[in-house]
Symmetry: C2
Subunit: 173 residues, 2 copies
């Protein structure tokens, strides 16, 4: 076996959300050090019809949460998209990480071939679990973490690629 579905999802999402939360810490330090209202970062977006930084964090959380739930045929908890402060966004990351921590690796068995339905309305799709992970959940998760990073970079927050990649860990699941 090369990679289990668990390995390619839960620890990846957990890393990404932890990194995202750390980038929010850097945003806070930069805002307070430069007399900038943190709300101007939280509400920032790269185009008028794109999501704000808060929206990017919420969608990263949802993609991780639903990814783990769908691959294990379980129900994800509902998280209201009500975060308006950095503390609330960090808490959103933390509770998503805590939820991911409830999954045992064995609960992903059979998930690779399980039919996973996702998206709504005209975008409703069904894919086998392994395709869902590789074609939707991972690309979409990294999309939102990266766009959060790009928003912060665009606002002048001194984060770099090493912050996005985070510390490497050869012992990770």
């Amino acid at each position: 076996m090369s990679l289990t579905l668990y390995e390619a999802s839960v620890p990846v999402f957990t890393r990404g959300l932890t990194i995202l939360s750390s980038m929010l810490d850097k945003a806070e330090a930069h805002a307070s050090g430069n007399g900038v209202a943190i709300a101007s970062y939280i509400e920032a977006r790269l185009a008028s019809d794109m999501l704000t930084l808060a929206g990017q964090v919420q969608r990263a959380s949802d993609t991780a949460k639903f990814g783990a739930a769908r691959l294990t045929a379980t129900e994800a908890p509902s998280f209201a998209d009500e975060e308006v402060t950095l503390d609330q966004l960090r808490e959103r990351c933390a509770k998503t990480v805590a939820y991911l921590g409830t999954f045992a690796a064995g609960s992903f068995e059979g998930g690779d071939t399980r039919a996973v339905t996702f998206g709504g309305g005209a975008n409703k799709q069904t894919l086998p679990g392994n395709r869902y992970l590789l074609q939707f959940a991972l690309p979409n998760f990294f999309f939102h973490v990266t766009t959060a990073y790009d928003i912060l970079r665009h606002k002048g927050v001194p984060v770099g690629k090493r912050d996005y990649l985070g510390p490497f860990d050869e012992t990770s699941a």
Copy 2:
């Protein structure tokens, strides 16, 4: 087995580069339809010390190319970062996809535990192949595809999340 190292790399990179090239098509159509010089997109960046759109395409190509080479303990071809036109950037995507197409799934066997060294200077790292893929190659690849998308969105090109995700394919490797 849930996912082979091949499945979690070659088809994922191939999809992403194909999608990236399609987004460049949309950028070209938007520029020509609005009397905008395409160079203003190719040279665009989200922060003065970030890479341009051209640079994002080059790094996505490199991450895919080196990802496949390192996981199979083979040598990647050298691609000079000389692209300055959309046609050249699409050709960079195409030749990377063609290179990825030369890999047989079986050549990734044992790649998950093979020590992979990457990065240069103070950033030089060694990880087992499966950690290299999940902690560096995939996050870094999606970083550059997403940032290319974010640059285009920031410049007003009408691409959307469905363009970034691309058409789903349940029969993909």
